[in-house]
Assembly symmetry: C2
Homo-oligomer: 152 residues x 2
């Protein structure tokens, strides 16, 4: 059995999980800096989803780091399937949150300046961009693990 780079228990996977955690935290941070986030449904949704994504990515980062250290990657098909499905559902939710945030920020920027001062709006934009990066790395993890699954 080949070791697919990026699957659970490799250093590439560890890097991807770290990237997910960092991007999700950054997205949450820039969203929470603006104090008005709870007045828009899309922003609340982003905060909720990031609150789900951060523990998930962080836990798997710890598992990956441990696997790399002891040089014994997880190869149970059941656990791998769980990780693939979890990543996949989470990446759909993050994509939905990122798109909603981006479109609402775009509307706020163009509709009326009074809703959204430029300084606050740029924070929301950075938050949406970070959410997109988090989606991208989460989807990459899911695809790499899915690629490994039929060979087990």
């Amino acid at each position: 059995m080949d070791d697919v780079p990026g699957s659970v228990g490799t250093s590439a996977s560890f890097s991807l999980r770290l990237a997910q955690t960092i991007f999700s935290c950054a997205s949450l941070f820039f969203m929470s800096l603006g104090v008005q986030f709870y007045s828009y449904t899309a922003f609340c949704y982003l905060v909720t989803i990031m609150g789900l994504a951060i523990p998930w990515s962080f836990t798997l980062a710890i598992v990956d780091g441990y696997s790399v250290l002891v040089k014994c990657p997880i190869r149970q098909p059941g656990i791998l399937l769980l990780v693939v499905i979890g990543d996949w559902v989470l990446s759909i939710l993050i994509l939905a949150a990122a798109c909603s945030t981006a479109s609402v920020v775009d509307l706020l920027l163009h509709a009326d300046r009074s809703f959204c001062p430029p300084r606050v709006c740029s924070r929301y934009q950075i938050s949406a961009a970070m959410a997109f990066l988090s989606w991208f790395s989460s989807m990459a993890s899911s695809l790499f693990n899915l690629w490994l699954l039929p060979s087990l």
Copy 2:
């Protein structure tokens, strides 16, 4: 080799493709009924994506219908892979469009009545709902075909 229900060339797949085409057309129709759609980025994006999704689903519906009639399903791994990747990319784009539309409609409903009279806004809501249904059936097609792929 078992015949996975819902994979290319079965009657279940034909139904899924027809559902995709109908939902996409309905989404486009309800969006275009409101004449203001080109003033919002998210709505223009939805119209663009639906313009991509309708020909794709319709073409594959015709291929499926033909396969069912002549009782000779397509089983080339290359073509199947192309269909899986196409469906997958399209379902991500449709999800993004549906989420953007839904969040913008939600914002317009709550922010200011003058932006969006209730009669127009309910059309946008129906359009977003149809886009979500279209996403759901597109993702189902992609998953069924992906399930078949390793057995070829």
